[in-house]
Symmetry: D2
Subunit: 485 residues, 4 copies
């Protein structure tokens, strides 16, 4: 892709695959709005008062149809927005086109390479000479990481003229980050400091990004306030669980058309994502095996009738392998070459290091046959048998299908909107320091409430007497903070 | 599409969408073979003796990747093959291209109009001056119907010169059939008589086609022997049930990306197809409502925790409607205009008359917005709300997704191969008259056996003593013919 | 138990455990009536015309609360009734007491020994000097067997004075049957001939009994007409499947209180009973393994996500074993001594020869510890570990719990009533010969209909046009006879 | 029951139903030990060092077989124990007999009245002149309550001679508590002060008791340290959820034998207990309706396909009602009299005020018919129809069945043992103040670990590199404290 910024009729900068898909994108956005009552309710409740007026929001989050509804909710509340995807395969090109044409700056297309990916991230953060964004909507933490690495590099440079050195890392992706920082330094050696100074805060979407933030908080290196949206109940217990229950079979079906009934499926990790995956596969008639490190999650799996084994126990007999751990080095090339012919290997965790793609790519004599984009068969020279890897080891539900459906993303994204509103409202109050926060329970409950009517659900109301008896306010919050749902 | 027959490098006639997709088709056929142990086992067992040598087979059955493996099994057993799809939306164009290039004559593409559809059917039956096919593989019975209607028309013509009159029917599709017959009559007024005389028999795939055959048998109008493959247990209790359990959510997801959890889904009909659909939706977290005419099937639904109601009870509150009845006039336009905004309406039964598409298309002021092929939103003028109709009311799993997965189709198609072998082997023995037959139970059990190893299943063997005690042969068949599984 | 016949206030002969439980039995019968709409509807429809007036009915069928409602339906229709249980552990003593006091002659108590069991069967058949019953309601076929063996013995005796010789069999139970016949011969050497001559027919309840009948029909030894109630859809697809889904966990819980979640449960046999058992255990969070001889049933299990293995594969690792096969010698003592400590072994098939109780009882050094009635721990001398056997290898759901619940038994028993009515009505018409019959489909559908309203189900009605299109009568029957549901 | 304390052969005081059941109890305790690996592992690990030597433990917790294993684990670790049940119907008399004979003082029988209940509680707390217990194992908080009320009463008395006045409360049970305190005051007006002074702490088992403790903590009235065992993940996410999934159908079946399939079941409350109940009923083929006040829990229900409605919506059409809320006044007499004939009403929450038993008992003209103990039919005078109330509105799984199975109770009770060990070990360190604590996560994970092997589960081990990457210790704890599982 030619990396130049274009500008649309309404003046939004963009780099997308194909602007002619904007109409198609708009039609699907219209459908999605009906399925996203939380976001639409935010527009109704907050739109008139324009509470995000004046706020520049940068988003780094899968540029899908659902995200389009999020973006247009932010703009409906007054924000200016620039957006990129947080995964090279997760953009829906028609969604990107519609937003770029109608509502915000977008830099995203399905099938970026890593160089392009980070260029897009830079563009989304690039608000011109006046500094960076006021707010960030992050998913996985790449926008946040770039700023933190940028500030670190600038400090080193200020101290003694040291420039970032891409050869100092053996991680190819981080080498690209360092190159970008090095090249940027030559133009403006204070760019990320300015960005950091302006930044009001970030709201982070996913387990992995939140994990990074808590590590920075623990190390004292976090540069601005962060709201952990992932751990809103209405996010982690819905999007992670029910979203994956929906999108794992969807991705498997679209990528491979394989019959799920009767197959042995190994789900690595039994957190919320793993629970959703295991439930979906069991429901489809597969025999599910779970691998776990955590004895509590392992015991939960057993109570659901799922055997808990190690990968070594089943690597030669299973048909489908799904990683959901958030950890790295889960399925290694030495596992893969022992698998059955046409075993399917895929990842639904945020980062692509759960599956040893490097080991696979560099395995002597291995042959890659692309069946179709995001569906590759890798044939090993010794056995002439092959395995099928989805989305090159990246998020298979976004790479091979369209990610989570609108309704559950409405839960997650309503939390995002509320987090953005809160950060912006309190930007001068000092309420939020350089720490990680979760939204208060009454807002979590509110998000849930906004999604009940669409499904025809009717809540029971506490009487005064009952509220007093269990010692909660009549209108909630109804549970102590440690409640696990 | 320009309706002219082309010829490929290997000499097979064809009309397909895009021959450049042949390589892609071949890659997917290779994958499918691994998932179709029954068919591959037929190649191993029967290939060497070429039992179909000399047999001309015409197929009218969804031209998918799975069907490609069926076709190449028939050719591996010695047959010559000509093929068309039995549904205007069900062809996978890459499968058609691969077969047309490598193995057989093919006339099929995704998105035929009805005129094109019947032209393709004619071509598949057209074996040149020497008459028609020896054998037919039929699905829904359109090839069989054309021959029967042809013979009927020729008889009328022979009697008094009457030509088929398209205006005599108010069914637009049947008008086309009559035109074709009328036009053909001018060329050869004995064409279908010659065809019938040559024909050894047909093996029929699906409930609807079988229903037609039994009616012809009852009326004494059946012109040649027919094997009812649908009622092999390894067909109806697997393909219809587990196939639909897989492909209904697949079609819904690909067409609409809608979240299934929390939605109210109405499944009209609780036969094998309806049972599979209801199971899939329940497993996905939907609330399923069943409509039924048969009290036994209705009572089965209740035992699975499904409410049995009439369409009128739920038409205004449900989110998704699926017809599976094999009957007509199930969801009428007067139902559709009362539905919720963006309610999804689709059919997974063989014919497209379960949903009142004519009523919808001719509703005054209705507006059709095509979101993408096979996904249309119809907006009613009174309410400005719309419903989403999939695959124009035709088989949504084939129109919007890729149909049933390979493994379960291997069960069905192994029955087809066995039926074809049987008809051809007994072509002169007089074993089969002009009636409808089912395959004997030992062959049904054999089909099942061929699919167990792939799933790691191990059968228990009867001892002599046990076999004697329950009075069955040690190697089966194990059940009386009335056994219901 | 002292084997003498008593007579109650209303004149019914009986031998039961404790007549003081009659009030308790009546209370539970009252509850059951509300759950048995099919039977109650028979009383309403047929009661006024007394169609069983003059008919003597002998029943050999588990003397439970549900059976009590059946018996009182038969008497409400005019019949005289004598009853015994068809299993030594299946009587509910309060049900027996209530019936004996109020409605019919009863010979049954929980915990009969085999001698007592056959004494009870004799009593139920003993209608005094005028010969035997007109009709039999049989379950498992023991009443039918006794008559057939009796006739055979009488013929041998008539021929050459041969008396039945108990030592000619090595089956302890059959030895008892022969003793009874031998002793009876001395009193009346034509007793069973008279019985046979009077008998109009039998309606048989269960798979095993039906199997016996078909064997007799095949051998030409069947002495009177038989209606196979088991193969009414509303029996085998409901009672066998959903009844066992309910009563297997019930029996396990009452007998052992063991946690089902997390356990490995082996279900031997995947017919209707096995399907119900497997579904129940899977639903309870167990990991289910199936053993099967029939490849079709085995393939069904795989499609439900259940591994199909042999008993040898899992005998050392599984926690619970359930036999459902209707065959013999399924779990042998050599299996049992390899099982885990406190593995649970039980049978839900009709006869007690699925589990090798004889092998267990005679295993050298084995020790039996009765935890409570019907729950025994057997300790092997080598390992000092034990297994827990339920109901001494007999029907565990009736031995350890109360059998199937009323609602599903109402389906089965309504078929019984209809069968009895039919046999009696046609007693002189010659409609039924010495063969096995099933009820016509319209009666099967009627039984289902009678059970829908209780569950709030509403049927859809066919239009004339729809009925014509699918070629069925508007009011049914709706399916061809080979339809499998 | 004559309220006098007896003394057994080994010197333990007791009041139980029937000492002759001690052998039966011992047999079932032996079985339970095999199913309670966590407790048995505590005996192995801690038994030799006798860490509870010198500790007097009073328990107020359902005196079941599982509790017997807990008690004998405490005594195996060196403790002296006195025990009572925390529910009038929950004692298993054979368990009580075995413990009273062999291991500890016991005051408990099935079917206490409230006067007897509190007498038993007093006895369990009565360690003679030397003061009360060192430690309490509480379930629901009644032992804790009695001490707190006792101290409060003694303070009032010390201040101005005020005696507790039973007539000051309109709650009949609390009147009894006040009588006991009043009567005790005459004997020793410092009894509860001495008790409080000696007390090291309490470990509380259940949601309701924990709720009381947090309220006391918030009010500053908590008199001693408390460990909240309920909120260990291995308790609330196992016992509450999977325990109830097991014991709700068990209780329904034993009490009523009603067919669950096809019935409409209303589950009031969708917390952990409600989730377990709903899962069980859905799995049994019922149609489940949920009522909820909390929008998050309500949204969870919808995602599982369960309609969320109010009680008013379904009161006339549902078949079974289960309360799980922990709140009061859930099902009122005005609901009950509108229910269908023989609707079943039961409670599985800790206290009996979820169902308006008082309203029912005092309803003019209502008639109570006891079917069997804990199963009563209440007939309303207007309609002559009745409802069936289980366990008089108390915990139906303990009143009508045997409570939760051993395996899941082993998880809960291992937490209890660990909590008792911790309180006793730290009794002088000042580590615990007058607050409510939860056990640290590493102990929670340990409890889970102890239960995996029994189920054949195998954990995966983190590599050093992986542990570093996700920033957790290799051996856990693996999750942040806010993780919800």
């Amino acid at each position: 892709m030619d990396l130049s910024v274009e500008k649309g009729a309404k003046g939004f900068e963009f780099k997308v695959k194909d602007m002619s898909q904007a109409d198609f994108g708009r039609l699907e956005i219209d459908l999605a709005e009906v399925e996203m009552p939380g976001l639409m309710s935010c527009r109704t409740e907050f739109g008139p008062s324009q509470p995000l007026k004046g706020a520049r929001v940068t988003g780094s989050l899968h540029m899908t149809i659902q995200t389009a509804v999020l973006i247009e909710t932010l703009t409906a509340l007054g924000a200016e927005v620039r957006w990129c995807s947080c995964n090279i395969f997760s953009t829906q090109d028609h969604a990107a086109a519609a937003i770029a044409r109608d509502s915000a700056a977008v830099f995203a297309w399905k099938g970026e390479n890593l160089q392009e990916y980070w260029w897009c991230t830079e563009r989304a953060l690039d608000w011109g000479p006046g500094g960076g964004p006021d707010l960030i909507v992050d998913d996985g933490g790449d926008a946040t990481l770039l700023i933190h690495e940028g500030v670190k590099a600038e400090e080193a440079y200020a101290k003694d003229g040291t420039l970032p050195d891409p050869t100092s890392s053996d991680n190819p992706e981080f080498q690209i980050v360092l190159s970008i920082l090095r090249d940027g330094m030559k133009v403006d050696p204070k760019k990320y400091h300015k960005m950091k100074d302006r930044l009001v805060g970030v709201s982070e979407e996913t387990t992995t990004g939140v994990h990074r933030l808590y590590q920075m908080q623990a190390n004292g290196t976090l540069l601005f306030p962060a709201i952990n949206v992932n751990d809103s109940v209405t996010k982690s217990k819905f999007d992670n669980l029910y979203g994956c229950r929906h999108s794992l079979p969807d991705g498997l079906m679209r990528a491979t058309d394989v019959m799920l009934a009767g197959k042995v499926v190994v789900v690595c990790g039994y957190g919320d994502v793993g629970k959703g995956c295991a439930a979906a596969m069991k429901a489809a008639g597969s025999r599910v095996v779970v691998t776990e490190i955590d004895p509590i999650c392992a015991l939960q799996a057993t109570m659901e009738g799922l055997p808990v084994l190690t990968l070594a126990d089943v690597v030669e007999t299973a048909d489908i392998f799904v990683t959901t751990t958030g950890n790295k080095d889960i399925i290694m090339v030495n596992h893969m070459r022992r698998m059955k012919n046409n075993a399917i290997v895929c990842n639904i965790g945020h980062f692509d290091n759960e599956i040893d793609m490097l080991g696979l790519e560099t395995y002597p004599g291995v042959k890659k046959i692309t069946i179709k984009p995001q569906t590759d068969r890798w044939v090993f020279p010794e056995t002439k048998t092959g395995i099928i890897v989805l989305a090159e080891g990246r998020l298979m539900n976004l790479g091979c299908a369209t990610g989570h459906p609108s309704f559950v993303m409405s839960c997650s994204f309503t939390n995002q909107v509320i987090a953005q509103l809160e950060l912006w409202k309190e930007r001068k109050s000092g309420k939020y320091g350089k720490e990680v926060y979760v939204l208060p329970k009454h807002l979590d409950e509110k998000v849930a409430s906004l999604h009940l009517e669409k499904l025809g659900a009717k809540l029971t109301k506490l009487t005064d007497d009952q509220a007093k008896y269990i010692n909660v306010p009549k209108d909630g919050p109804y549970k102590p903070s440690h409640y696990r749902y």
